[in-house]
Every structure is written in C-alpha cells, then in structure tokens.
Symmetry: C2
Subunit: 219 residues, 2 copies
DNA sequence: AATTATTTTTAGATTTGTCTAAAATTAATT
DNA sequence: AATTAATTTTAGACAAATCTAAAAATAATT
C-alpha cells in the first residue's frame, strides 16, 4: 500500500503531537498542518479506513502500529536528509528543515539505505534529534529542557523544540547552536527569564519562551 | 510562479519530444505520459495560460522561452541526481532513472547548486546525456547512433536512447554499458541487425531496435 | 471530391484534498 | 442544572487532474 504526500504529512504530524499528548485532537492537528478542522475530520476517516490510526468521533486520534511504522520511516528519511544536507552539502543547520520536508517523501527504500550507509549510519540529526534505524528504533537522548537545568550546571545544547525559521533566526543571532556549552547563572521568577553564560562570553538573559525551546544534556 | 509536479512532467515530456519533432502532437504526449488525449488537451490550455507554451487547437504545441527554461531546470536536476546516485551512492547506472524522476521535483535552488558543486560540476550524466548548467547551457556530445557507425570503426558507448527498464535489462544481460568499447563487424540488410564485437569478447549480433537505442562516439 | 479513418477537442463525471457554513457534541461557567 | 462557549462533525461546494463517450476537425483513401 502506498500513501500520498498529504497522507504522510498527517501521519507525521500525529506522530509528533502524540509524543506528549497521548490522544491528538482535531484542532491541534488543524493548527499543526495549517488547515481547517473540517478537512482534518475528512482525512482522519480516510486514514482510519487504511488502518493507520484509531479514531472515534469526538474522541481524538492515535496512531496504530502500522501508522507508527510509517511515521518512523518518514522521520528517518527527514533526519537522514538533514544530516546529508549539513554534513555533505555544507548547508547551515538552520536552513535544512524545509528542504528535508520535501525530500522525506521520496519513496525509494534502496535510496534511504544507501544514503544511511554513505553517511555512516548517523544516530542524531543536526538538530540533535535521534534518527530511527531501518527497524524504527532510535537512540534515546536524555534531552533536558533548558528551563529545568539546575543553576551553575554546565550543559551542552543538544536539540531545539521547534524548527520554525523565527526560532532559528533568533538562535543564529544569539550564536546559540547544537553543541554550544552554557550554564544558567540566574532564574527570574517575575517573567521566568533566565540568565545564561556561554563559555568565553558575557552572560545575557533569554526569555522563558526561548529557554523552553532549547534542550540540553549535562556534560 | 510555481508549478505542480504534474505540470512539470508535461513540460519535460514536451521538451524531450520536441527535440526531434518540432511541434508535438496531443497523442504523442498522451502516449509519453501514459494518459489520455482528453487529459492532455485540458492541461495544454492551462499551461498556455501560464505562458509556458504556444498552443493552437489541432495545431500541436511548442514550448515558449519560459517553458524551455523550466524544462532545462528539471532536466538539470534529473541528471545531477542520477550522477549523485551512481557516483556517490554506488547505484547501478540502470537503476537510477525512477528515483531521479522523483528527486527532479525537489524545489530548492540552493540544493541544486550545492549538489552540483559537491559533484564537481559534472558535464554528463551516467547515461551519457549532457547536464545543463545553471544557465541552461549544455555541452554538445556528438553522439552518433550505433546504426550509423561505419564498419570496423572503434567506438565507445556514450548514451542510450531511452530509459525503459526493458532496455536497461537487455543491456545488462549483454554486458553493454556506458563506456563499453565496440566495433561493427557486419550489417545484415535483411532485418537490419548488426554484428558487433566488444573488446576481448566473441562477436554477436544485436537487433535493429537495440542498435537504434544505442549512441556511441568514435574513439 | 466524397467518404472513411484518425486525431483532437468538448461535455460531463470522478477522485483527492480542501473550504465555508450550519448542525451536533462536548466542555466550561454561571 | 441550565446556559454559554468551544470543539468537532456533517453537508454541500470547489479546484486540480483525470477519465469516458460523443462531437468536431483534420488527414488519408478510394
């Protein structure tokens, strides 16, 4: 059985949303996919008929085993292509997401396996997210949210919570990227902003929103 | 202005067909695209409205300057990806066409230019076809049809006339590929078959159809 | 030149994915 | 508990790309 690009995008969006949520609502999906709730309802019926998910009226949606498998395949392709773009073609890590959104729908299985081998079976993509292997297994990276990092504990930025160009632009401006080593110097309860210090730089504060979008691992 | 994958495939098909023909007929296009004449007519109206081609009822079709530019861009991507698949990912030259049919529709201009640079600005793809540069210019390879090769003149296979899997399967079986050195020993007027001899091999005959599908350059 | 055959176009229907507006259901609040 | 608000679904319509069947135009043949 084969799936359209649209169907694949629905499955991928549900996969990402259900990481946190468990069950995913129609409105959440509509927002994620920049479409309307009515369109989502229509598509969910179709995907249910294809046994990619379980869905009951008004009860939200959850991927089936087949759906998860499909989603992991798409995520695998997306992250391998991101790795390729950065590692092989010298793209900036903040400019590969949109291109990978297209490349992830190329169907050839052989291409994926050859690309994976050529890249040396990488475990993490340039944003710090784990790449599922050909069986759908992925390494678990103990990402902590920066907001939860204890004060004065050195950590390394290992992932970002979103791929939005707005976020990536801000990070570029502040010279924060994957691998950046930093520690928290102060937490301000008034607006939940935090003061961070990057090695060899002066300390500066970042907003709660930004801190929540950054994941780190303690080093 | 951007174009759907379907529109791009029409433009590409017209480009290839008009190389020989000049004006391309509705039925030719329908055959090439495995669709029906009625569908072609509908699409030609749309592409005319987008100024990619000139088209008058019952008179056939011809690409405009814009249409040619678009076609060359698609051909460029197709052939660069084929080169990548063979050269970088170690695909066989006979198994890359279908994958490149998908990859050629990836839109990022930056990707194309970075890929081109990474590959070292190749001039010909693995089938011996020239790769247009970023301005749409391509090297002219003096491909001669094998049928026109003089007897006992050593030549090197430089291209194939079609990408059909049937042809590629036959070539694989006969151990003929790009770069194969051969000469014609006899031509049989009865069925226009020819006897060829590949270096270090016994001579054997090939059909007119096969000979017409092979292009060589005299060495 | 008239007739037959082929090619091409039109007309109307279908599928996929989307939309708006209205109805139905569930959640929140008074 | 009753009402309001928010969410979700249904109903009907639309655009893209396709199809079949019939009509129109062009080409081929007698």
């Amino acid at each position: 059985m084969s799936f359209s690009i649209t169907e694949e995008n629905y499955i991928k969006a549900i996969f990402h949303l259900q990481q946190e949520d468990g069950n995913v609502s129609t409105n959440e999906l509509a927002a994620e996919l920049h479409t309307k709730a009515a369109s989502v309802t229509d598509m969910l019926k179709k995907l249910k008929a294809k046994k990619l998910l379980s869905y009951e009226k008004y009860k939200g949606v959850r991927l089936s085993a087949d759906g998860k498998k499909l989603a992991l395949g798409i995520v695998r392709k997306h992250r391998l292509w991101e790795y390729f773009l950065v590692d092989t073609l010298q793209f900036g890590w903040d400019e590969v997401h949109e291109v990978a959104e297209e490349l992830e729908h190329i169907t050839s299985k052989k291409l994926v396996e050859k690309l994976d081998a050529f890249l040396g079976h990488p475990k993490f993509d340039p944003h710090g997210d784990p790449i599922p292997d050909s069986h759908g297994k992925m390494a678990v990276q103990q990402h902590i949210n920066l907001i939860d990092l204890p004060i004065n504990k050195m950590a390394e930025v290992s992932g970002v919570g979103s791929q939005s160009t707005e976020l990536l632009e801000l990070l570029k401006h502040k010279h924060i990227g994957i691998g950046t080593k930093l520690e928290i110097k102060k937490k301000f309860s008034f607006d939940h902003s935090i003061e961070i210090k990057i090695k060899n730089q002066n300390a500066f504060t970042i907003s709660q929103q930004l801190a929540q979008a950054l994941f780190v691992k303690i080093v």
